[in-house]
């Protein structure tokens, strides 16, 4: 197990290195002069030179790279061009909001997807199945930028139950979490249904039934745990996307998280902040996927012990 953890940690570090390198190069890959992009076409040459110097862009590339990693290792992400505050501070302010939203969205997704997928698989071909899968089709088809406003229209404007936007009261979390969660739930429930149907046809399910176990034990104890394995892989990928996809949802609900910060900073041409946000979102991806692998290993002994026996 320790060996597995070390290997997993090592490969996560490798990916992180690659991602950070790409983020560093981002600014150099932009066509034209990045300083001009940041300051606008009408900027003064003197201002450009000053900014270029401030960003260290007048240095040779390898020096910039060394400098970048030196700062990165001491968690120094530089300074915002817009607010003149350290970026680390800004990001840390926004991070809890995004995490809160992601966790809430994930909970909604699982609470919807697991029962929905299970019901659909165990009542295959009947009304429940058709209903559940239609719901999931709708969930997949409606993009977040439409789902969000629809929910606001219904629950905030017509019914007046929930706040329209912001993060001033706990109830404000409900709508953005629902928006994020339903989209995820739609995909997960489909995956779970397919995977559960396959597992229910396996020999060991027949064994479980031949033991005289109740159908509930057969499904929850024997089938579901096996069926969740591929779902967890998908969840890992989707959760990463959830962090990135939150950009849209956070914008719709003016949710003060990393996504909104990214959008704001792009508008303000606050390049160092955008860079930090992209880095953070990628970091989220890597961490989530590493965690997924660990959960997978926890659930599946064949991975935990290494399938050397074959």
């Amino acid at each position: 197990m320790t060996k597995f953890l070390l290997a997993r940690f090592g490969s996560a570090l490798l990916v992180l290195f690659g991602v950070s390198l790409l983020v560093f190069l981002l600014i150099h890959l932009i066509p034209g002069d990045p300083v001009e992009v940041m300051l606008g076409e009408s900027s003064q040459p003197a201002d450009r030179a000053a900014l270029r110097h401030a960003l260290g862009l007048d240095q040779p590339l390898y020096l910039q790279l060394l400098e970048y990693y030196r700062h990165l290792l001491s968690f120094d992400l530089g300074e915002s061009l817009y607010s003149r505050r350290p970026i680390t501070e800004i990001v840390l302010e926004r991070l809890p909001a995004t995490l809160e939203l992601a966790v809430a969205g994930l909970c909604v997704a699982l609470l919807v997807a697991v029962p929905l997928g299970t019901v659909a698989a165990t009542r295959r071909g009947r009304a429940w199945d058709v209903g559940a899968m239609s719901f999931s089709m709708i969930g997949i088809s409606i993009p977040n930028f439409l789902m969000g406003p629809l929910l606001i229209l219904l629950f905030s404007l017509w019914l007046g139950w929930l706040p329209v936007s912001g993060r001033d009261e706990p109830a404000a979390l409900v709508l953005p979490a629902l928006t994020l969660g339903t989209a995820l739930a739609a995909i997960l429930s489909r995956m779970l249904r397919a995977s559960l149907l396959e597992i229910l046809g396996e020999d060991f399910i027949r064994t479980a039934r031949a033991k005289g176990l109740t159908e509930r034990v057969v499904i929850f104890r024997h089938a579901l745990r096996n069926a969740l394995l591929p779902v967890i892989t998908l969840l890992g990928l989707q959760l990463g996307a959830l962090l990135a996809g939150a950009v849209i949802t956070e914008t719709v609900f003016s949710w003060p998280g990393i996504g909104l910060l990214t959008i704001e900073s792009i508008h303000r041409r606050d390049y160092p902040v955008v860079q930090a946000c992209v880095l953070l979102i990628s970091l989220g991806y890597v961490v989530v996927n590493a965690v997924t692998d660990l959960v997978y290993a926890r659930l599946d002994p064949r991975i935990r012990f290494g399938d050397a026996a074959g």
């Binding site: 290997a7 060991f204 005289g212 024997h222």
Partner: protein, 680 residues
């Protein structure tokens, strides 16, 4: 007082499929008495497993449904019980084990937990008390170190161990009846012998009745008290064991015996059952076997035969046994079998076609992030043999012994690590690219599973033709087509097969297509990798006959890879027995099978269930499983399971000892003899 434990009456199960409504179980009756072994014998698709699942009420719904009959367990009709009450019967009074121990256990739960689940459910025990029973059960099924094993997961156990665990689960409820559905079919023969012995011991100790489902006459002979033969959804013969094996009553039962490959039948083709099993979708108004029966007459095609008692202990559904019906039978001799031509054995020729010398195939085991090589699997370890022109050479061994790897490395589908493979004098291991590709027309392969070895989206005609096209053997399309048609004739398939897809054919027919595909490029050597082990006995006979005929007609050489020694006895000229990557004994079939000298060969031969009780030998029970070829034991690989092992065996690998003109063995037991003979 003498009431049976289980009485099945008029059981009928229907199954809805896309092809229509089937009745895989169609009016089945039988009784099982307490403590006896009742075997249900039949070929695939005859409804024997469905009968078992119907008794357990585990027919997959909603497609399958029991539509008529009664299943009385101790007088209580299981079919009328509510589902909740039925669940208290399953696993408690009737338990079941299945064919595939590999997939019948839940991969994510420990085996201790999977047994404990049944203990908790049926004995109402919890915690430490349940764990104690689990350990007792593991001990009862002969699993060493139960304390450690109960914490392991299924993938950490071998196939034989998994089947033992399945049996432990079944025993947890202390059932009166154990249904065993082909419990040893997926296991190697030495492991099969272990599991059958275990079942017999448990039955004796616990007075449990066993319903044993099998297709293997040998297993029936070793295990059964009562035999029922099933054909196309019905039981056609029921008998006590002894009269059944002395004189099977139904023509179908007789055919099953005749189509078994055996050494005595070497000189002649095996008996085959013409045609195929009738579709269960149709309603039967006559004898189900009439169309394939050598003795059928008018009555058989018009009237459903009734049960006729041959003796107190034997009965069959056949008009032949009916004194009234037989009156109307025309005076006729049974139809003679298609061809009874005696085979001429090819004499051993001068230069061999294929010579394998010092062949080694090692696979690296890679581990970790950088895929370092941390060890080797010694799949094939220094193997040498030669195959003569027009001769059949058999490689025998249990799964994992490396026999398939040898086949593939001869064809250069896997490149050998070391050694030489010379075909007609030309070294193949150094051939590459285009030159090797050109040479491929000389050697072809037929695989074990005819279902997965053909591209399902290609027409049969294209499959057969592809090799000719790829090697440019017949550039003219019309002539190529004609040749494909000739090939289909040759392997006994209708010509319209050309424009059909593989899934439209039965297993035996598909294997014929694979043979036609291999023959298309005019090979001289055919590697047959377990070509009949996925097939039923009667279909196996057809394929073996076909291979024999093709060899006679075309002078083909066969490398026959198999675990089935009866097939070897029937078909092969020479045989090599493999254990863990090495050949331990080698000689002609008469030498090796008639006078086995290596302890492993002796154990392997004794483990095969034999039909004739008088010919039954003492089973040399091998303990334990085949070791992993990644960590082979030192010295002679067999020493840890060998009853004759000496300290020398643990440290040194014995050299080849010559016992006769062509009989060689690698065992220290014979080295001294050899030396003594040499001294004389």
């Amino acid at each position: 007082m003498n009431e049976p434990l289980l009485r099945v009456e008029g059981l009928r199960t229907r199954f809805e499929t896309r092809g229509g409504v089937l009745h895989p179980v169609d009016d089945v009756d039988f009784d099982i008495r307490r403590g006896e072994t009742f075997t249900l014998l039949g070929e695939s698709g005859c409804g024997k497993s469905m009968t078992a699942l119907s008794i357990m009420r585990l027919i997959p719904a909603p497609a399958g449904r029991i539509v008529a009959g009664r299943v009385l367990l101790g007088g209580e009709d299981l079919l009328s019980l509510p589902e909740a009450a039925m669940r208290r019967v399953r696993g408690k009074r009737v338990a079941m084990i299945f064919q595939e121990p590999m997939t019948s256990l839940n991969p994510v739960l420990t085996i201790g937990e999977q047994i404990a689940e049944s203990v908790r459910r049926h004995r109402g025990l919890k915690g430490a008390a349940a764990t104690r029973v689990v350990l007792e059960l593991l001990d009862a099924v002969g699993i060493a170190d139960p304390e450690q094993r109960q914490r392991e997961y299924p993938h950490q156990l071998s196939g034989g161990m998994k089947q033992r665990v399945m049996i432990a689960i079944a025993l947890a409820g202390e059932p009166d009846l154990l249904i065993a559905d082909e419990p040893t079919t997926a296991l190697d023969v030495t492991i099969q012998a272990q599991v059958l012995a275990l079942l017999r011991r448990l039955q004796r100790e616990r007075g449990m009745a066993i319903l044993l489902i099998t297709h293997d006459l040998g297993v029936v002979s070793e295990m059964a008290d009562q035999v029922a033969v099933m054909y196309a959804g019905q039981i056609v013969e029921q008998s006590a064991r002894a009269p059944f094996f002395a004189a099977p009553g139904h023509p179908y039962s007789r055919k099953l015996f005749e189509s078994l490959p055996e050494i005595e039948k070497r000189a002649q083709p095996l008996a085959v059952i013409p045609g195929a099993v009738p579709s269960l979708a149709r309603a039967f108004t006559a004898c189900r076997f009439a169309d394939r029966c050598d003795f059928a007459w008018q009555t058989c095609r018009e009237v459903v035969p009734r049960w006729i008692r041959v003796s107190d202990a034997q009965a069959a559904r056949c008009h032949l046994l009916d004194a009234e019906a037989i009156q109307q039978a025309p005076e006729h001799a049974p139809r003679p079998p298609a061809h009874l031509a005696q085979r001429q054995r090819t004499p051993a020729p001068v230069a061999p076609l294929l010579e394998v010398d010092g062949l080694k195939v090692h696979f690296p085991i890679r581990h970790g992030l950088l895929k370092r090589t941390v060890g080797q699997v010694y799949a094939v370890d220094d193997v040498s043999f030669a195959i003569g022109r027009g001769r059949t050479f058999a490689l025998v061994g249990e799964s994992g012994c490396g026999k398939t790897t040898i086949g593939k490395s001869i064809l250069q589908l896997i490149r050998p690590t070391a050694g030489s493979v010379r075909f007609d004098g030309e070294e193949l291991t150094t051939l590459h690219g285009e030159r090797l590709r050109r040479r491929r027309s000389d050697f072809q392969i037929i695989f074990q599973d005819p279902f997965s070895s053909m591209n399902p989206r290609m027409l049969v005609g294209d499959i057969v033709e592809e090799g000719m096209r790829a090697l440019g053997l017949e550039p003219d399309p019309a002539r190529r087509r004609a040749r494909v048609e000739a090939l289909l004739d040759q392997v006994g398939l209708p010509r319209d097969a050309l424009r059909r897809y593989p899934h439209e054919f039965s297993g035996g027919q598909r294997q014929r297509i694979c043979i036609a595909r291999a023959l298309a490029v005019n090979p001289r050597l055919l590697v047959c990798d377990e070509p009949t082990s996925a097939l039923d006995i009667s279909v196996q006979a057809q394929i073996l006959n076909l291979l024999q005929r093709l060899q006679d007609e075309m002078g083909l050489s066969y490398l026959f890879i198999t675990h089935n020694l009866s097939v070897v006895a029937y078909l092969a000229d020479e045989v090599a027995v493999m254990y863990l990557g090495r050949i331990v004994e080698h000689g002609t079939v008469d030498e090796v099978l008639g006078n086995p000298r290596h302890p492993y060969t002796q154990a392997l031969l004794s483990a095969i269930p034999v039909i004739d009780p008088s010919a039954r030998r003492e089973v040399i029970r091998l303990e334990g499983d085949l070791p992993s070829p990644a960590r082979p034991p030192s010295g002679c690989h067999f020493h840890i399971r060998c009853p004759h092992a000496t300290p020398q065996c643990r440290t040194h690998y014995p050299a080849v000892t010559r016992l006769g003109a062509s009989h060689t063995v690698r065992c220290f037991l014979y080295e001294a003899d050899d030396a003594a003979e040499a001294g004389c």
